[in-house]
Symmetry: C2
Subunit: 359 residues, 2 copies
């Protein structure tokens, strides 16, 4: 992996990644003036969690005309995009409309409310120079490069002592409000451990203390023994519909050796993980013959410098279609009680996914 | 409030409620044969929560043709609906496709997974015989009746020692997958305290222990003193955009006396709460001139027979539009980390809502 770092005219960072040396052949652009972000966080006293306020975001880019794509390389200097021309395979830059920033100022005080700066970092990851592809449709070596890029961003962001947790993710589908079709993802870096990860850490620590080994080890063994929920097994990595899936076609892509971060994986393990990830995404797109809307998250251990032997690294994919044309919506029980309803058993849906043919 | 209880031909319960005595003038119908529900729950070892599996639900009624409305009174015995003809104002019946049932059988064991019966109850609440109205558009006395019906259902379900928590809610809007336009809501009754309520209870107990009084008392006083986030104040009830709102136009409708359940409210308090609720919903519909898609939940204390002086009764309304035509989707940070981004400050949005004119 090769990388080159740049600063955009508006001060934001840009990193270009390549499988071959990076070469840039036009000026580093920015699509407009610097946006002043003053994000803040407020404490929700009943949910017991921080809520982020990013009041400058409401006017962000929304379904722009097809001729303007801010994630493509700039070809017309009159209409600069986020990226230059050149030889590179992937790009990461600071989000122009961030929910969190490293220089967020203290907010105006609100009596009775705990408020603080929205400290953190939001990055955009462009998966390819090709505006029409999909993550699953990229060549295997490009999916592998993305694993390396995620690992690199996690390490880079983790070096900042203000950042405690790094979450790479991809939201895909106009069905879930994604405004840009160009294949891309995002990274949120938080200055604290978010509630979902806090909860997982507590659960996994208890498991590790009780059984003397990481949960992931037992999980992989049980799923291989059961067989019924494994969709693809490449030896060093596999995909599985977890027996406690919340979404109908939920798929977890995970290494079979219990590690807590992508950076701990060997070369051959990353190749296997990339192959299984590509297979999982292509199955989901082939399942109903439509681009499956989904949320993909990379769930790694916190980046506070400590070791987390109990933390199970995995890529969680939550597809939003539960049948052709039928979206899963999070409604009363999911949002009002935190309790999911899944309309199908994981065993049945894993069998369907195994039968899917794709290129 | 008057009520009459019936049993449908397929064994499900039906209760009709009226502001005047209930009279039924046609047989009690059911729209088809009994559906065998075998819901189960499985433990999610990382989220630390139960996931419900209701495999019989995937084929439930979905956007039926407009001429068939299962929530209207039956007029053609060849096409029975859920309700009879007669004089009544509201109806509650067991959901034909429940996610939880009181007689769920033990599930087949799954090695390595904690699974148990999906014990609980799911009810449908029909707000009016009029298929075209909206909850906010109903006469004030009908909204008041709904508060009485919710209180009655909570008490009735709470009498079953297997049930620990009762959540009345309304999902509204085709945007969020609501398949029937006839104004209606649902009630989920769980055999355990769900995660959102468990978390709130922990937080509110800590507050009560620290301050010696319920959080709601301080909250109402602070909001009245600040003034900027209160949308409507009727003395015994008010609506407010909470300072820690997760949704752009989130509105909480609450009594100004700290109580934990609807049943504890006096007549005049229920009238005030109904008036503020109606006002809140009409404001949301008038805001952009379109029916606002939303989730409404009634957050009461557990029904296990204990007193919960620290629990704040409130009706939470989470509207899904953050601007005209712009939905809020729960994406990477909300679902992958449990951390919400709100694009606007509550103070600004409360001011907008106060200025809305409606009938």
């Amino acid at each position: 992996m090769y990388k080159s770092e740049f600063v955009k005219p508006d001060g934001r960072a840009l990193t270009l990644y390549g499988r071959t040396p990076v070469e840039v052949s036009s000026p580093i652009p920015a699509p407009g003036e610097a946006v002043e972000a003053r994000p803040q966080m407020r404490w929700h006293p009943l949910r017991g969690e921080w809520v982020m306020y990013a009041a400058h975001r409401l006017n962000r880019t929304f379904l722009p005309p097809p001729e303007y794509n801010p994630l493509a390389p700039t070809h017309d200097p009159e209409h600069p995009t986020e990226l230059p021309q050149g030889r590179y395979d992937m790009a990461v830059f600071d989000n122009r409309f961030p929910s969190l920033t490293l220089d967020a100022p203290p907010p105006d005080p609100v009596p009775g409310v705990a408020a603080r700066p929205g400290t953190g970092k939001c990055e955009v990851v462009v998966f390819s120079q090709n505006p029409n592809g999909t993550l699953g449709g990229l060549p295997a070596e490009q999916v592998r490069l993305l694993l390396d890029v995620w690992a690199d961003r996690t390490a880079e962001l983790g070096r900042d002592p203000r950042l405690q947790y790094v979450l790479p993710f991809e939201n895909r589908g106009v069905e879930v409000g994604v405004t840009l079709n160009h294949p891309h993802g995002q990274i949120y870096a938080y200055d604290h451990l978010p509630p979902v990860q806090q909860r997982a850490l507590t659960q996994m620590r208890a498991y590790h203390a009780e059984h003397g080994r990481p949960w992931l080890e037992d999980f992989v063994r049980q799923e291989r023994e059961a067989g019924v929920r494994v969709v693809r097994d490449e030896g060093q990595a596999l995909s599985v519909v977890p027996p406690f899936a919340r979404f109908t076609y939920e798929l977890w892509v995970l290494p079979t050796r219990a590690v807590s971060r992508l950076s701990e994986l060997e070369d051959s393990e990353r190749d296997a993980l990339a192959a299984v990830l590509k297979d999982a995404l292509m199955r989901l797109d082939a399942l109903f013959g439509v681009r499956m809307p989904y949320l993909l998250t990379v769930q790694q251990a916190p980046v506070d410098g400590q070791a987390y032997p109990e933390w199970p690294l995995r890529i969680e994919i939550s597809p939003y279609l539960r049948a052709p044309g039928r979206m899963k919506y999070l409604a009363g029980t999911e949002q009002g009680a935190g309790e999911f309803v899944n309309d199908a058993l994981p065993e049945q849906k894993a069998a369907e996914l195994r039968e899917v043919k794709h290129d």
